[in-house]
């Protein structure tokens, strides 16, 4: 996503979104391109007939059903669409060549160049990457995965048919992982969340070997040690190994290929995440029952949050961590062990400025949306808003909002935000 090439000159561009409602039977919730140039929505153009309207222009093709309208990170407008009982993916109005009995769960690579979906064709299941379906299909598929670089697809697949009541057959292992369509040569009781090494050569997944023994399998080979539970693995870019939270003796700890990574166990530990440079490792933890915090390199922050911590994000330099918190029924943001004083009805994932100095997020209060930056609230109340985007040099902010039925793309100097 090269934000430098976006239009940072024009201070405001508008689209009269409200007018669409007169034009169509109904207009579904709109989506906005990352660069803010396009607002689009699924629209009903007649009984049982749908299309996509982008900046007021209706796409030529219409379908019986359209859903999951989303922009890829590189700004292409995608949707899942169906006609005459067949489903496909549309990208900027053009349908994929392949048609399926059903298609769901679109996944995008970080750069947006790759689009993967899960498909079902005549009762057989697989994934398709950029309009290329897996050659091998399976009798069932779950937990589809696309690598961040868009090169590898993987999913949990069923290898052996077992009747619902054949519990012992199931427990002998009927499930494997298929990577780029090809199944591992070993079956497990279960296969869940996956991760891939940066070179794409190894895929790791949470597996259950028996009803009680959980571990991580890499390319189908389980770690030697088993645990009473595990959460999804993450690739460690510095060591080249996989890490995962594991549960032992009623506590959660972080291990790397079976070796203890953090000395201290936690009551809960999940969503481990490496900083962009791989040097710091953070996780959402509960230090004890009902007391949530963030641990960085094994050390928990001092703050304790009662209800929920989510949407953890590292600053680009990897030195700061921000999270969304929920405490006493209010949503907020915590950065570097400190909770902002403003609270909201809802808070979206915080966004760091490229120079690591500012943090902004979309927030909701009393049914209206705005942007909060560095714990100060932008004094505009909007009917809709999307995540703010910082200019690569950090001096400007892109705001994408709907106010009084008008979509506005605003470029605002950071210094001028507070009016």
């Amino acid at each position: 996503m090269n934000t430098e090439e976006w239009d940072w000159e024009t201070s405001e561009k508008c689209v009269a979104f409200k007018d669409w409602h007169q034009q169509f039977e109904w207009v579904e919730e709109p989506y906005v391109s990352p660069d803010g140039e396009i607002i689009a929505a699924i629209v009903n153009v007649g009984e049982g007939e749908f299309s996509i309207c982008a900046n007021g222009n209706i796409q030529e093709s219409s379908f019986e059903k359209i859903w999951r309208l989303r922009f890829t990170p590189d700004g292409r407008l995608t949707a899942l669409a169906s006609d005459a009982g067949e489903w496909t993916v549309t990208v900027d109005g053009a349908a994929w060549e392949n048609r399926f009995s059903y298609v769901w769960n679109p996944l995008f690579s970080d750069d947006g160049h790759s689009i993967a979906v899960s498909f079902q064709q005549d009762g057989q299941y697989g994934m398709a990457l950029n309009d290329v379906p897996w050659e091998q299909t399976y009798m069932n598929l779950t937990d589809a995965f696309l690598s961040a670089d868009g090169q590898h697809t993987a999913a949990s697949v069923q290898m052996i048919a077992a009747g619902e009541s054949e519990i012992h057959k199931f427990q002998a292992g009927t499930i494997s992982a298929a990577v780029n369509g090809k199944a591992w040569d070993r079956n497990f009781v279960n296969v869940w969340g996956k991760a891939v090494s940066h070179d794409g050569a190894r895929v790791a997944a949470e597996v259950r070997l028996t009803l009680y023994d959980y571990t991580i399998a890499v390319n189908g080979v389980p770690w030697e040690k088993t645990y009473s539970s595990v959460w999804e693995p993450v690739f460690n870019p510095l060591s080249g190994k996989f890490i995962a939270p594991v549960r032992q003796d009623g506590k959660w700890m972080l291990v790397e290929e079976g070796q203890l990574l953090w000395r201290k166990p936690f009551h809960q530990l999940w969503h481990p995440q490496f900083s962009p440079d791989g040097k710091n490792l953070a996780a959402i933890v509960a230090t004890e029952f009902g007391k949530w915090s963030v641990a960085i390199n094994g050390q928990a922050w001092n703050i304790r949050i009662g209800e929920l911590i989510t949407d953890m994000v590292f600053s680009p330099d990897g030195r700061k961590v921000a999270v969304v918190v929920k405490d006493n029924e209010r949503w907020g943001i915590a950065v570097q062990d400190s909770v902002w004083k403003n609270t909201f009805d809802m808070v979206w994932k915080p966004v760091f400025s490229p120079d690591n100095t500012h943090i902004a997020a979309k927030v909701e209060k009393d049914g209206k949306y705005t942007i909060v930056m560095d714990d100060r609230i932008w004094p505009h109340t909007c009917d809709a808003a999307w995540d703010p985007v910082f200019h690569p040099e950090g001096e400007l902010l892109l705001f994408r909002t709907i106010e009084d039925g008008v979509y506005r793309r605003r470029v605002i100097p950071i210094r001028g935000i507070w009016g």
Binding site: R68, S228, F289
Partner: protein
């Protein structure tokens, strides 16, 4: 089926229990029991078991005991004595045959309904103790076949009914299309990030009861609710792992449910008329993960209907005329205190509510809950015979005029249908949502 009736001395053959037991050694049994007693359950189990003075006050609280002519083996304290009490007394040195009986008692002769705990002077929670027995039998691999199969479904598909990932959104889209013949602009908004409410249901709805999804969609659209349903796993709020003692799996499916709601940035999860799922998301599952309260607030359908009617967002065209009675589901009434809200809703939509007795938090369990109905056909008659007292309670309210039996819980609903049929009650068993859908004003 009748030849499968649970006479107290008869053991029902269940493949899950039998095959699991065949693999057991005395050593494994002992080790597993001691592990659970000493590490997982700890002090609470021992205090409960030691505190019981065998006064018998809990006995009359239990529908199994009452329905089996006061056979002490079916009393709450009796069930503890035959299972955990012995395990503790013998320090885990019990054999395979003992464990088979213990598995059957814990899984199929207790609904974990907690009625008995209200009558015990010491507040001893026999439901909890039976859950401990289930945990032990899970770790020993001897859970009844049908409910174990359901746990397997949860583990693969993250729902109770092996609903495949594509079948779920496909079913919602089909229901949306159907409902458009009634409300042309109706939507079931999938994956609408930032909606106020995520609506979640249990696996049987898309599998067998799609009309419930249809009705919910009409209700949401008529009331103008800003709602969504996830198109991904995480949509199902049910949880048989909670009842098999597979806590690790329970945690996994609850995490997915709550993280799906968090991903969708909803402020609340509204759930359909289900009782056990309420227990799982409101109490047991969230706690196992470390969440003291549900991280995204949970609103049971009863409470949701209450709010919609109270705020005037749903108007009633004409009330339901046939006299109704209400079965208070254990999990949402004893467990969630929703009994007065349920009555408010029913009085708003029905002409005549006739109370059964006992009622509210004292109501008798349906005998289906706690995973018992999920143990499947082998135990169907054990369930029906184990709840003769419910049939008597219903005959009494029928004699006072009630014709429709409202059961705002899936398990209760199915269990009461069996009681209704077997004992020849001939009542109409309905969800609140069935009646609400029938009587509400539906905008064009």
């Amino acid at each position: 089926m009748d030849n499968m009736a649970a006479k107290p001395d008869e053991t029902i053959l269940d493949e899950g229990i039998e095959k699991g037991a065949a693999l057991l050694t005395d050593e494994r049994i002992e080790k597993t029991i001691l592990r659970v007693l000493n590490t997982e359950g700890g002090a609470r189990i021992k205090v409960y078991v030691d505190t019981c003075v065998h006064c018998g006050l809990c006995a009359e609280a239990c529908h199994y005991y009452l329905s089996h002519d006061n056979d002490p083996r079916f009393s709450p304290a009796g069930k503890v004595r035959q299972t955990l009490g012995e395990m503790i007394a013998r320090k885990g040195k019990v054999d395979r045959e003992f464990m088979k009986k213990a598995a059957e008692i814990a899984a199929t002769q207790c609904n974990l309904c907690k009625r008995c705990a209200m009558y015990c002077p010491f507040g001893i929670d026999v439901a909890y103790l039976m859950s401990v027995v289930r945990r032990i039998t899970h770790l020993l691999g001897m859970t009844p076949q049908y409910i174990q199969a359901t746990a397997h479904s949860h583990s693969v598909s993250m729902n109770q009914m092996w609903v495949r990932e594509d079948e779920w959104p496909d079913t919602l889209q089909w229901q949306e299309e159907e409902a458009r013949s009634e409300m042309p602009k109706l939507r079931i908004p999938l994956e609408k990030e930032g909606a106020d409410i995520m609506y979640s249901v249990i696996g049987p709805e898309p599998k067998f009861q799609a009309q419930l999804l249809y009705q919910a969609a009409i209700l949401m659209n008529a009331a103008g609710v800003n709602w969504t349903m996830p198109a991904t796993p995480g949509w199902d709020n049910s949880d048989m792992a909670m009842f098999t003692g597979d806590s690790e799996l329970m945690g996994r499916i609850k995490r997915q449910h709550f993280e799906t709601a968090a991903r969708l940035k909803v402020k609340k999860i509204v759930m359909g008329e289900c009782g056990h799922a309420f227990r799982s998301v409101y109490d047991t599952g969230n706690r196992w993960l470390g969440w003291k309260i549900p991280p995204i607030p949970i609103v049971h359908a009863i409470e949701f209907y209450y709010d919609l009617i109270k705020e005037g967002r749903i108007k009633i065209a004409q009330k339901y005329a046939e006299p109704v009675t209400l079965h208070d589901p254990c999990n949402v009434v004893r467990g969630g205190g929703l009994h007065e809200k349920a009555r408010y809703v029913i009085r708003a939509i029905c002409d005549n509510l006739i109370e059964m007795h006992p009622n509210r938090e004292h109501n008798y369990c349906c005998c289906a809950g706690g995973g018992v109905i999920n143990c499947g056909p082998p135990y169907k008659m054990a369930r029906i015979n184990g709840n003769r007292v419910k049939a008597e309670q219903l005959f009494a309210v029928k004699a006072r005029g009630a014709r429709t039996l409202i059961a705002p819980c899936h398990n209760c609903h199915s269990g009461l249908e069996d009681i209704n049929h077997y004992y020849g009650l001939e009542m109409n068993v309905k969800f609140i949502g069935d009646i609400l859908y029938q009587v509400m004003e539906k905008p064009e």
